[in-house]
């Protein structure tokens, strides 16, 4: 392979810098659509100039400067200039103060620090804006991946198995909605903070999960989305280091991502957690996940919903082999999670943990209650778990029927195959037990 040509180098720079550039511009022009347009203008400039001059040393600053100049041009030509005068005036004051600093170096350093912190603040504002609750879930995801992830419309479309035009429309509408709702470019105040942060974390985890578990079709994973969500989560952890649930979510994603290499067999078949070869778990990521979990705990956030889920994942991660899993602790954590964020799915997982800690009968009781849950009616894991518990307790015929039912409910071809296999095994065992030749 050769050294990347300038186009590839520019793409790489764009991926690294674009979110920050857009963030700074949004603060200047107070319009997400215009900000992205100006950033794209700067990119076009780079595509024209850099093949000749080479990629500049401070590529981010170059792009930002070009984009800001374009922004000022636009502002001069519009009524926004009146409002901006006040802000520019403030900036001039700051510069005057700094001009009185002792040495030129101190001045540069001071400007740099202020600048870097400001850009961080702007980036955090952009995160909250892209995930604003006034937008639909799909719009938040598309806008986040576009503005913060730097993904192209085509990439987003392919990752979510929708048409490119659909994604393009979603993004256009999202920008319009933000403008019409006059969503302020700010980090939400204390009262709203928890709810708004929750929206951000939900978007990131949705992106991660889309990559982590396909809902239809034969391919089980779309790893790029997992990496993207992780990257954005890590960035957010640096931007908002005092928010425990951010670290909780990052911990959860790091640990789940650690299993990527063990979840799929060479033929593409899914391998369940308890059957995975743990030597193939990425222990570097597990270490990072455990560290993030500790950060959440140190901030007093051990009982947050993401931190609890991460703690459960950490229990699995700490077990050298499946047999060493601390199921009682997992059951207790699911108990805490059920009280905090109750859902039938959490109950189902709690049932599995109970059965592993205290025997299948303990779990079956809870699972039987869940069969009445309407929201789980079409959830293949419910009959799958029930089948597993029955198989361990004895009634093989019934177990087989549950696995068959589960097989009809899953949309994943390979998972269906796995479930039908178990159904057949149970039927076979039932036949043997009944004394058939």
């Amino acid at each position: 392979m050769s050294v990347p040509d300038t186009r590839q180098a520019i793409d790489a720079v764009w991926r690294i810098e674009s979110a920050r550039i857009i963030a700074v511009l949004v603060r200047m022009v107070r319009d997400v659509g215009l900000a992205e347009e100006l950033a794209q203008d700067a990119l076009v400039s780079a595509l024209e100039r850099w093949p000749v001059t080479g990629v500049p040393d401070n590529a981010g600053a170059w792009l930002t400067a070009v984009a800001k100049n374009r922004a000022l041009d636009r502002l001069r030509r519009s009524q926004l200039l009146e409002r901006k005068h006040a802000e520019l005036g403030r900036e001039l004051e700051v510069r005057q103060e700094l001009a009185q600093a002792e040495s030129a170096e101190a001045l540069d350093a001071a400007l740099d620090t202020t600048h870097a912190d400001e850009i961080d603040d702007d980036l955090l504002r952009l995160v909250f804006t892209a995930c604003h609750p006034v937008l639909s879930r799909e719009a938040r995801i598309a806008l986040t991946l576009r503005l913060l992830g730097g993904l192209s419309t085509d990439e987003i479309a392919r990752a979510f198995l929708v048409a490119e035009a659909t994604v393009a429309q979603r993004i256009v509408r999202a920008k319009r909605t933000l403008a019409e709702a006059r969503v302020p470019f700010e980090v939400p105040r204390q009262e709203e903070r928890a709810a708004r942060l929750s929206s951000v974390l939900e978007v990131l985890y949705l992106i991660f999960n889309e990559g982590y578990s396909a809902t239809a079709g034969d391919d089980w994973m779309r790893p790029t989305l997992c990496e993207e969500a992780l990257r954005l989560g890590r960035i957010l952890a640096e931007l908002a280091p005092h928010e425990p649930e951010v670290h909780g979510l990052v911990a959860l994603m790091e640990i789940q991502a650690s299993r990527t290499g063990a979840r799929v067999g060479p033929g593409g078949e899914p391998i369940l957690l308890l059957d995975q070869n743990r030597a193939r778990w990425n222990h570097l990521l597990i270490g990072r996940g455990l560290a993030a979990l500790e950060r959440a705990g140190a901030l007093g956030g051990a009982r947050g919903p993401y931190a609890l889920q991460a703690a459960i994942a950490a229990c699995h991660a700490r077990a050298r082999v499946a047999e060493e899993t601390d199921w009682e602790r997992i059951a207790a954590l699911y108990d805490a999670l059920a009280q905090l964020a109750p859902s039938p799915i959490v109950e189902l997982n709690r049932a599995v943990a109970l059965s592993m800690a205290f025997g299948p009968a303990a779990g079956l009781e809870l699972v039987d209650e869940l069969t009445a849950e309407r929201s789980l009616e079409h959830y293949h894991l419910l009959p799958s778990v029930r089948g597993d518990l029955l198989a361990r307790l004895g009634p093989m015929e019934e177990a087989s029927r549950e696995f068959q039912r589960a097989a009809t409910l899953t949309r994943n071809a390979r998972e269906r195959h796995l479930l039908l296999e178990r159904a057949a095994n149970c039927a076979g065992a039932a036949h043997t037990r009944s004394g058939g030749v």
């Binding site: 990347p4 180098a9 790489a12 991926r15 690294i16 954005l232 059957d275």
Partner: protein
Amino acid sequence: MRFMMLMIPSGYETAAPGTMPDVKAIEAMMKYNESLQKAGVLLALDGLHPPSMGARITFSGGKAKATDGPFGDGRETLGGYWMIQVKSRAEAIEWASRCPASEKETIEVRQVQDFSDFPVELQQAAADLSELQSGKSVTP
């Protein structure tokens, strides 16, 4: 994609035990490391003590033999590494290019092998081995 950025400081092969980089260099490097962390791409990093504190193992005739450093053969040696997670080789190169390295330093960028990089037969063989090792119980 994961990449390692391998730091190769010229002259480190003859550095005395306990050699440390100078304060200004450390400061600049820490800012760089911070930028990797803030960008969400840093997975791990470490510095390595010089070869004068290390050893080499050779395998001549099937026998392992250990020799203490320094090795005096003038070969370049590693000073440290970063492991990063990025979308492309070009991005890894861009990050490496931003390192505040001196004229005496070279960074080699190498992609980390993922299991899925290997051909299917090899993966299948490894899967069979792992089944043997894990002593999987067969559920009915």
